[in-house]
Amino acid sequence: MSVQNYYLPESLGEALELLARYGPDLLVIAGGTVAMPLINEGVSTPVQVMGLRRTGLDEMARSNGNVKIGATTTLTRLLEESPVPLLRTAARNTAAWTIRNMGTVGGNLFSPPPAGDVAVALLALDAEVTLTGSGGERVVPLARFWTGFMTNVMQADELVTAITLPVPTGKTAYIKYGRKQAHTPAVVTVAAHLVVEGGRVQQARLALGAVGPHPLRCPQAEAVLTGSELSEDAITEAAQTAAGECDPFTDAIASEWYRRKMVPVYVARALRQIAQEEAAS
């Protein structure tokens, strides 16, 4: 059955009403970069669809040490206007110009691995997701947003409306390793945020993409780093620890074996970037 209705609500309220009316039968798209290829191929055959482009959820604002990014902010705007360098780097490493003009920050949370390159950066920045439903808003840490491959904590009547993150106080690094320079799925994506004071890591956040059912934090590797000097030994130990915390898969781009091998390599490279920057400052 072809699409019966494609709704383009002009406000969040209107969008929530539609969601309340159709519940899980309503396919929600924003940029369409994930859903449309499947619809074009006939793999996905939704009947009721809602597009979020006109809901006005694309505000990007900075206040009280936080950055709030509306869910439908395009990746191009994130690249050009985000006050957070890590997010600009992540956006630059996602897809290509044409697709970044369409794809959204909120939509990136729903991109199945190995896609979801911006979500990895958001995870390392301790972002929170604002979910808005008929009962109002609730805020969920991004680290607890996903529950499995393409599953999450959202209720059927909820939308992701914003992503909020504290302006990073430490140093950050982001590396996406793909087989091509651009416009390519990841073998592994690493995002890190470290606060180093007095030569010691005070706070560490490390996130990986493309090596699990969804972007992952690496709490054990973070624990290895926290309190230690950012030495080569600590970096190596953290990198090895991270390898044990991921759950890689095999696809056309890379095997599980290779992805697991690349996790410590690229975690170490990301951490070394920060160490070098730290040493230079």
Binding site: M1, S2, E41, G42, T45
Partner: protein
């Protein structure tokens, strides 16, 4: 070099089709449409090897816009082989599968509908009752006695030379005496090489639009690389006179060999014949990737006998082309491969067995370099390994062994326009590789050195 005074040959004049291309006014096949045009979508096998127990179209027929379905029963001469036109046989590939499918993505039934969306949906609702069978994907596994048999003649390899009353399991080349030379060689260097199956990946997918004409003929707008070849095969499959078909093409959005197959045209013409309406059948990108022909994979085993001075005195090669499920162009590619797999070198003793092997894989076919690409890959890596083994500069090894004009190649043809040495010298100069005097003195016309005018 002969000097000829030429006016326009040798000039970089602009492309004749360039203005059309940069304005987007060039007409490609998918740009063609007619008001009452139907769309054809294919029901394909979801598994690599299965027996077909039945097909149920009842749900598909309920889709609004469904016009009709086509099965092998609708195809007059359903079993064909593309190269029958140049005497390669026997026929062995169904246009639409009959009782069995041999690869994932194989065409089972066609659905024709009023819109592309309806055709996609109707095709997705066709239920094919399949009994999955054991499949074989490796060329050497396929040749083992316990492998599932894929071909009606009982083997998983193409039989060569039946036209000479022989049945050879491979294309053979025999030149000199390799075993005797191996016994005399200072070194034996062996190697195993494996090419991957590769998709042509043109930016324009394969397709055609067929329009029934008032005079009972059919105009076929197609991006085939070979108009008459496709026309002839289509007419044979449909059992209609050749002159009922009118092919129009000549503008192809990248071919690389992938548009030499005859896959979309016969079934689209049939659909137009059965409905009396124009029909479009264009591959989706996914079909182009997963179902259309590939450059078939190739496995090659080399054994070379080499002297300390670098002369290769014997080369024994056994190779297996992975044809996938059907012939397409692979039997012919194997012959071309056999002619070239000793490389552009003068080797006095050569022994080649080249097999065309069937597996449960999407068929391999023609692609840029047809049979020679795997040969060049294996030969040239093997040359470096020989150089490494005997401690010689890889350039020198190639200069020493390069064929010269007047040499006899393993297929017995006398070399008449070799310039390998000159080409290597030019490459060395381009990259600043300094070649020793004795190599610079060599040329392709005189094995003893000296200069060519």
């Amino acid at each position: 070099m002969t000097k000829q005074l030429l006016n326009v040959v040798g000039q970089s004049v602009h492309r004749r089709d360039g203005m059309g291309h940069v304005t987007g006014r060039t007409t490609f096949v998918d740009d063609i449409q007619f008001r009452d045009m139907l769309y054809l979508k294919m029901v394909r096998s979801p598994v690599p090897h299965a027996r077909i127990r039945g097909i149920d179209f009842s749900e598909a027929e309920k889709v609004p816009g469904f016009v009709r379905a086509l099965t092998h029963r609708d195809v007059p001469k359903n079993i064909y082989t593309i190269l029958c036109l140049i005497g390669v046989g026997p026929d062995e590939e169904p246009v639409l599968a009959e009782d069995r499918v041999l690869y994932k993505g194989e065409q089972i039934a066609a659905v024709v509908a009023e819109s592309e969306e309806a055709a996609v949906e109707a095709a997705s609702r066709v239920v094919v009752d399949l009994e999955e069978l054991p499949a074989v994907f490796d060329v050497e596994e396929a040749l083992k006695p316990d492998a599932p048999v894929l071909k009606p003649w009982g083997t998983n390899y193409f039989i060569y030379d039946y036209e000479y009353g022989q049945s050879n399991p491979c294309r053979k080349v025999r030149f000199g005496d390799v075993e005797k030379a191996f016994a005399e060689a200072d070194y034996i260097v062996e190697g195993r090489y494996q090419m991957s199956p590769i998709e042509h990946a043109p930016t324009e997918t394969t397709g055609c639009v067929v329009k029934p004409e008032p005079d009972g003929r059919y105009t076929v707008y197609t991006n085939t690389q070979a108009l008459f070849f496709t026309l002839d095969n289509s007419a044979l499959i449909l059992n209609i006179p050749f002159n009922k078909l009118h092919f129009v093409g000549g503008t192809v959005g990248g071919g690389f060999g992938g548009k030499v197959d005859v896959i979309v045209e016969p079934i689209a013409i049939l659909a137009a014949m059965k409905t009396g309406r124009p029909v479009k059948y264009v591959f989706s990108r996914e079909e182009e990737m997963r179902c259309s022909s590939t450059r078939g994979a190739w496995r090659m085993y080399f054994k070379d006998g080499v002297m300390k001075d670098g002369r290769i005195i014997a080369r024994k090669v056994t190779t297996y082309a992975d044809a996938g499920a059907y012939n397409r162009h692979t039997p012919y590619a194997v012959t071309k491969h056999a002619a070239n797999v000793a490389g552009p070198y003068s080797i006095p003793n050569v022994w080649i067995d080249a097999y065309c092997v069937y597996t449960n894989r999407q068929p391999g076919s023609a692609m840029r370099g047809f049979g020679v690409t795997p040969a060049s890959f294996a030969v040239e890596v093997q040359m470096d390994r020989i150089a490494h083994t005997i401690g010689m500069d890889p350039w020198e090894l190639r200069f020493i062994n390069a064929y010269r004009n007047g040499d006899v190649r393993p297929h017995r043809k006398v070399v008449e326009d070799a310039t390998l040495i000159e080409t290597m010298k030019a490459a060395a100069q381009l990259v600043g590789k300094e070649l020793p005097e004795h190599l610079l003195a060599m040329n392709s016309w005189d094995r003893e050195g000296g200069h060519h005018g």
